[in-house]
Amino acid sequence: MSEELPAEQLLARVAHHDIDALSELYDRYVPRIYGMVARILPSRASAEEVLQELFLRLWSESAALNEQGKSVTAWLIVTAREAAVHRLRALRKKAAEAAPSNHGAETTKKVLHRQRAKSVVPTSSTEKSEVKSPGGISEAWRGHSPDGVSVACPVPIAWLPQPSEVTRIDDRLVLLCKVIDQLPKPQRQALELAVFDGLNENEIAAELGEPLGKVRTSLRAALTFVKHRRRAVCGSWAANI
């Protein structure tokens, strides 16, 4: 039985342009990444493109990630979500521009939902959402990419967890996913719209037909619950959930 190499050892080899190591990282993490990206995006074709761009980016940014000793697993998941949400917002923007102007945002959402259901959205060309700011920190300060699509905050490498922290989370992932299932339905619904539909507070309120204040309260309560449970599950194994 062969021992599985730690992800960070593979990352170090990728940083030295070892394509076999990249292939191993791909095989190990692609089900998680693709599961998430395919849930966010309306077509499998666009999910596949995001996946390819992600690993091409890993190939070129592996040295920096390796130098800072951050978790490659966390980088893959967080960066893949950012890229998928950015693409989703670009598709939404395109749909809004294509829709008759008097139909407004409601039509845009419907168009996108229809596209998502039918998985027929054409994929767009490569997009870049990351702009470097002084000090090498990704441009988290703008909120918009050069193509004018609002972006999820690009997470600089320095903010990513250490490999040991991610291992602790991964060891308890079944419990942590159960935590998300435990949220009251309105909170869970609002949270899923934020995480997997790339909507902000205002858009979630419009989508659910709820007052903004109520949505804000739901989102904050949901995230506080998840955060506290994560602390309990990862910090104290005896936590009773």
Partner: protein, 80 residues
């Protein structure tokens, strides 16, 4: 000091779900290098990681990987 009210915003901000006004406040605050907030933002990144994994794993077609490796080999002709 004076930034505890931001504690519940980090995850939302990282998810891109925060309103622009609140995002601006947070960005301006972080730009001042607040150590409390930088610690919290690192923790928030872990929560975002957990949330991202709350989907069923799935596998793309095998051709996606072969196209990827071909593209990398094309871009890096001297690899290995």
């Amino acid at each position: 000091m004076g930034c505890q009210h931001l504690d519940e915003l980090y995850e939302l901000w990282l998810l891109g779900a925060l309103s622009e006004a609140n995002s601006r406040d947070l960005r301006e605050h972080l730009a001042r290098g607040c150590p409390h907030c930088l610690g919290r933002i690192r923790e928030a990144t872990e929560t975002v990681y957990v949330l991202g994994l709350a989907s069923k794993p799935d596998r793309p077609p095998a051709r996606v990987k072969s196209e990827l490796l071909r593209e990398i080999a094309r871009k890096t002709p001297t690899h290995r």
